[in-house]
């Protein structure tokens, strides 16, 4: 049994595997499959200041080894999250990361202020949601706006802050450096790649939102590259995600430079994906005689 604990910005995780925001709700559904205490952490469904219904369905389309989603941040609003969901989640013996999104810098700051008074462990700031018209991704695609959001949330809470980056940019390391400079405690990446599918009979996009975010195994090589680049560009920890489906993927992602990983779309096919990844990574470390999972972080040797 290898030591699977990792520490991100002062928060200890019992293992490096976190379920990704938006794929795991507020934890209530997957609990029917396994105790949530098995997980390193849970990043909750992206929550906004007010409750939102999100986009019209269909909100999902299948692609080769991937999926497109266009949920559009359906959520009950931050107050209900704090009152109803957080107390339940906090009883589950796993790290709780509140994933939040805003439509203005003020909204981001306001939500963080509200969370500051709670016992949530960390806040993940989504500046990369491709599925809402205003805000969302817009903040994540320029250094300036990414830095501004970071500055505002930094000022409004003492909780450790993770900025979640968009892959739909020319140079993700620039954005990572910009948010690091404004006091982000960690970055997480990647959010989804903007994509599309069309029904060739109806000639309509399959998603009612026309476009959606691509995730799942298909994006893994892009995510891995971005995590490697980012881990080499910033000093703060990098949380890697995007297409992780097997324990081998988890090892690859940590070798590339991720201090912890998130698992999302893979859960849809295999609800046990995250727990199987924890077990598989642990077995790998044992087989290789590696004592702590921290020893593999960023240990890829480039040619």
């Amino acid at each position: 049994m290898a030591d699977m604990r990792v520490n991100i910005a002062g928060v200890e995780f019992k293992n490096p595997v976190i379920t990704a925001s938006g794929t795991f709700g507020y934890g209530r559904e997957y609990e029917h499959f396994f105790p949530l205490s098995k997980l390193g952490g849970i990043s909750t469904k992206g929550t906004t200041a007010e409750k939102r219904n999100g986009n019209l369905a269909p909100r999902i389309a299948e692609t080769p080894s991937g999926i497109l989603n266009s949920v559009g941040l359906q959520n009950p609003g931050i107050d209900k999250f704090i009152k109803v969901e957080l107390p339940n989640l906090k009883s589950k013996d796993t790290v709780i990361i509140a994933n939040i999104a805003g439509f203005s810098i003020e909204e981001y700051a306001k939500i963080c202020e509200k969370l500051d008074g709670t016992n949530v462990d960390m806040i993940e700031i989504n500046i990369s949601c491709p599925n809402v018209k205003h805000g969302g991704a817009a903040f994540g695609t320029s250094c300036q706006s990414a830095a501004e959001v970071t500055k505002a949330v930094r000022a409004s809470t003492k909780k450790p802050i993770i900025i979640k980056l968009s892959p739909n940019v020319t140079d993700i390391t620039e954005i990572a450096r910009a948010v690091e400079a404004e006091g982000a405690d960690a970055v997480s990446l990647i959010n989804t790649l903007l994509g599309m599918r069309i029904d060739i009979n109806s000639r309509r996009p399959i998603l009612k939102n026309n476009v959606g975010g691509l995730s799942g195994a298909a994006v893994f090589p892009v995510a891995l590259r971005m995590v490697w680049q980012t881990a080499n560009a910033v000093k703060i920890p990098v949380i890697g995600m995007g297409g992780i489906s097997t324990w081998e993927d988890g090892i690859e992602m940590m070798l590339a430079g991720a201090s912890a990983i998130q698992v999302g779309a893979a859960l849809f096919k295999n609800p046990f994906a995250a727990v199987e990844i924890i077990d598989g990574m642990n077995d790998y470390l044992d087989r290789k005689g590696i004592k702590s999972v921290n020893e593999i972080v960023k240990k890829v040797q480039p040619w």
Binding site: H32, N53, R59, V71, L267, F268, P271, F272
Partner: protein
């Protein structure tokens, strides 16, 4: 247990019509927990998303469920390759089924591949229900023997009149209501049919429940992709077909 994931043996497999498959799966725990109107999601080798399929039969004694599905695209094609003796990877039972409350008599309306979820209802209501099914043509007709065996009055319609009566289920529904107004109407099928059924039910003031379809991710209510516009507490609310449905009271649904 609410729902579970596992690989279970297919103990019988037949085809009911061209590209319509009928699997009997042995999974006692699931069968015990399952209710009419609920569904399963089936993993298809090589595809990232599971395919939702309604329960066409729940045999609690023998510990089996029955799945009847049509090959529509690549995923159902892959699933159709499974044979008797193979294991099928499912999550079940999922969603909220039909709410029978104290309805004594019912009319069941199934259209095309929307017919399967009507079979368990027919088994429960027996002589106290009328099972109306509609298909495009004789070649597409399925499950009529099952309805008859349950004791239900069985009405078959085909669009082209090649079998049963010619015309849509809505005409038959109107007639059956005129003969005897039921306590409730249960329906599943293509959207235009559902819409037609609900309009008639409303006209006659009969409560109706409909089983809806939507593209799914997790199938359990966590990913929120399977939204369905409903009214809850007087406000518009996007419910989720996999968790709040697939069966909805039609009065709650915004069409």
């Amino acid at each position: 247990m609410k729902y579970m994931q596992g690989k279970y043996p297919i103990i019988a497999s037949t085809t009911l019509a061209r590209e319509i498959y009928d699997f009997t799966v042995c999974c006692p725990k699931i069968a015990r927990a399952a209710e009419p109107g609920q569904f399963v999601t089936i993993a298809a080798d090589g595809f990232p998303l599971r395919r939702p399929v309604s329960l066409c039969g729940i045999d609690k004694e023998n510990g089996t469920i029955r799945l009847v599905f049509e090959v529509r695209g690549k995923g159902t094609k892959e699933i159709s390759r499974l044979r008797e003796g193979d294991m099928i990877d499912i999550i079940a039972p999922l969603g909220r089924g039909f709410r029978l409350k104290d309805y004594k008599t019912a009319i069941l309306v199934g259209g095309g591949i929307g017919t399967p979820p009507m079979v368990p209802l027919a088994k429960i209501y027996g002589e106290n229900c009328v099972a109306i099914s509609g298909f495009r043509s004789a070649a597409n007709v399925i499950l009529q023997e099952d309805f008859k065996a349950s004791g239900a009055k069985t009405v078959l319609c085909t669009d082209d009149g090649t079998m049963g009566r010619k015309g849509f289920v809505t005409a038959a529904l109107r007639e059956e209501i005129e003969i005897k107004k039921p306590d409730v109407i249960f329906a599943c099928g293509p959207s235009p049919m559902i819409k037609g059924v609900v309009d008639i039910a409303n006209e006659y003031g009969i409560p109706s429940q409909i089983s809806l379809e939507e593209r799914m991710g997790c199938g359990i209510g966590a990913c929120l992709v399977c939204a369905c516009r409903t009214v809850r507490n007087g406000e518009e609310f996007y419910a989720h077909v996999c968790q709040d449905g697939p069966v909805f009271e039609s009065k709650d649904v915004i069409f």
